[in-house]
Amino acid sequence: MNDGPDLKTLVIDGAAYQTRYTRKFACRKPYVAPDATTLVARIPGVILTVHVRRGQRVKRGDPLLVLEAMKMKNDLTAAHDGVVKTIHVEEGQMVAKGQLLIEFS
């Protein structure tokens, strides 16, 4: 909400325009490709069950964890075939949004 000139550059179809950014545009996060070798918590909650062990071979769709969040016992399943490299959580543990749960190799 300011009226100063504070002009920035915006390139569209190879042409560089001088213009202001909106707050939303200035704060946008650069895209990060999803990492197939990790499982992170999409929502915060509590780990009720750990179904797998370290070194275990899993197939796509196999149950990995039960995460209780938003009044639901959510089954977290394997998105790809792989081998469990590290389990970062234990049963009863609270996890935050975005927290690393399991790594695969």
Binding site: M1, L7, L10, V11, I12, D13, G14, A15, A16, Y17, Q18, T19, R20, Y21, T22, R23, K24, F25, R28, K29, Y31, I43, P44, A69, M70, A96, K97
Partner: protein, 514 residues
């Protein structure tokens, strides 16, 4: 009882009811910088025009000790009155009575005044200041909300609906304002959210204040849920009074015409656009240089500022203006600006307000975030809204009109009645830089000096195509006009479109890409 006694009894009852939640609760309300409900109505409406109904309505709850509790007017004031001479139906939740909580009878009072507004064909104004559902009334208060939402939807496009958020408006309660046409908020007073900071902290572990989560600034600048921002309740009421003069009572009428007034002197319309096509300028100055009294009433000023929307008058007639804003994000279309423009276009079309579009955009905003946020689906809303609209549609191409952006901004192809272009217009499939890079790719690559070759080719393309004459030669625009001729051309176009009638295929309703 004699008449005198009956009158005295009545005065006592009325006095008790209009005191709301009592003097202590009123003091608390005032200490928060808020006005009591009836004061708000008094300040908003023309003097001595308010008529209140259902003052003696009582709640019907018997649980949780509610049977011996009296809630004055059940926490909401309803009635009719006038704003700037226009009749309106109005309700105002009274926070001093049980926190303005919504129970069944409270909701019934609101739906009754909504039904009145629909029958009478006059605007509805709702002042929201409520802690939410009255928990003691359980599912009945949910029923109340649902009945309000249902009526908001039926009234949409029939009568203008205005929501004023002057206190908390949380949880399900936010959806009545969200279904209405214009939402007004006031700094430090308005709070809107689905789940409050407490819940967010418990469930997600994220800490945030009410103000940062859903305060007036957030709703007008970040989320786009609100349309008008004011520093005080008084300023907010002045904004509402002004808005009402621009819009008709209902969808069968036109907005009241005003006396025609010239734009204010001092704005040289020829000096606003910089000669360099990459330089920005404030498109609102063009609007002000063209409209009556240079009075442009901007809607959603702070959100998606890369497109400008609002009301103005041309020779006394209300018009809805949509303009790309080169000053912000070069005036591109993106997810938010598409959403903002599309809804405004549909409001104007529903209420017989002609559309005037000023075009200057390089295209759509590039970026992963835009594509993943669904810029395809959101951008389509603009095409839908313009194509669907049957009110007079007039377009002025000021400078850049490239590619999909050219089509989207009310081009002839979407049914514009009149398309004008300034001599500075560049109507082409894409900007010279992008086009030259593609068309002359081989020449540029094989040249001993690719940069010089690219520049030469960009210049060649600019010379040939970055003008309005190819579009004019094909009849895609009706006239090339000078900046100074613009006001006259617009006024003439509006005048001769007064009886415009255009029909659309019969259908239950379209399916816009919501």
């Amino acid at each position: 009882m004699s008449l005198r006694q009956k009158l005295r009894d009545f005065f006592n009852r009325r006095e008790a009811a209009i005191t709301g939640g009592g003097l202590k609760a009123i003091e608390k309300q005032v200490a928060l910088g808020k006005l009591p409900a009836r004061e708000r109505i008094k300040f908003l409406l023309d003097p001595d025009t308010f008529h209140e109904y259902d003052l003696f309505v009582e709640h019907r709850c018997h649980d949780f000790g509610m049977d011996n509790k009296q809630l004055a007017a059940d926490g909401v004031v309803t009635g009719t009155g006038k704003i700037s001479g226009h009749p309106v139906c109005i309700f105002a939740q009274d926070f001093t009575v049980a926190g303005g909580s919504l129970g069944l009878m409270h909701a019934r009072k609101i739906t009754k005044i909504m039904d009145h507004a629909m029958k009478l064909g006059i605007p509805l104004i709702g002042i929201n200041d409520s802690g939410g559902a009255r928990i003691q009334e359980g599912v009945n208060s949910l029923a109340g909300y649902g009945e309000i939402f249902f009526r908001n939807t039926l009234a949409s496009g029939v009568i203008p609906q205005i929501s004023v958020i002057l206190g908390p408006c949380a949880g399900g309660a936010v959806y009545s304002p969200a279904l209405t046409d214009f939402v007004f908020v006031v700094d430090k007073i308005s709070k809107m959210f689905i789940t409050g900071p407490e819940v967010i902290k418990t469930v997600l572990g994220e800490e945030i204040s009410m103000e940062e989560l859903g305060g007036a600034r957030v709703q007008t600048e970040i989320s786009g849920n609100a349309h008008f921002y004011a520093e005080s309740e008084q300023e907010c009421f002045e904004q509402i009074k002004k808005l009402v003069t621009f819009i008709p009572w209902n969808n069968r009428k036109k907005a009241d015409p005003f006396q025609a007034r010239k734009p204010k002197p001092g704005l040289d319309i020829e000096g606003i656009i910089p000669p360099e096509p990459m330089k920005p300028y404030d498109v609102r100055n063009i609007i002000r240089a063209v409209c009556d009294d240079s009075d442009f009433f901007e809607v959603q000023k702070y959100w998606a500022a890369n497109i400008v929307i609002g009301f103005a008058r041309l020779a006394g007639e209300t018009v809805g203006i949509i303009a790309n804003q080169p000053l912000v994000l070069a005036g591109v279309l993106d997810v938010d600006s598409s959403d903002k423009a599309a809804r405004f276009i549909r409001f104007c079309d529903a209420f017989n307000i002609p559309l005037v579009t000023f075009v200057d955009l390089p295209g759509y905003l590039p970026g992963v975030d835009q594509e993943h946020a669904g810029v395809i689906r959101h951008g389509a809303k603009v095409l839908y809204a313009y194509s669907e609209a049957t009110v007079p549609k007039i377009t002025v191409i000021l400078r850049k009109a490239y590619g999909g952006g050219y089509i989207a901004m009310c081009s002839r192809h979407l049914g514009a009645d009149f398309v004008f272009a300034w001599p500075t217009a560049e109507i082409a499939v894409m900007g010279p830089e992008g086009a030259a890079n593609i068309i002359f790719k081989a020449e540029i690559a094989s040249s001993p000096n690719p940069d010089a070759m690219r520049r030469a080719k960009v210049e060649e393309y600019t010379e040939k195509f970055a003008n309005p004459y190819i579009a004019a030669a094909n009849g895609h625009i009706d006239a090339v006009i000078t900046p100074r001729e613009t006001r006259g051309c617009l006024i003439h176009a509006i005048e001769i479109s007064a009886e415009k009638h255009e029909s659309r295929p019969t259908k239950k309703h379209g399916i816009p890409p919501f």
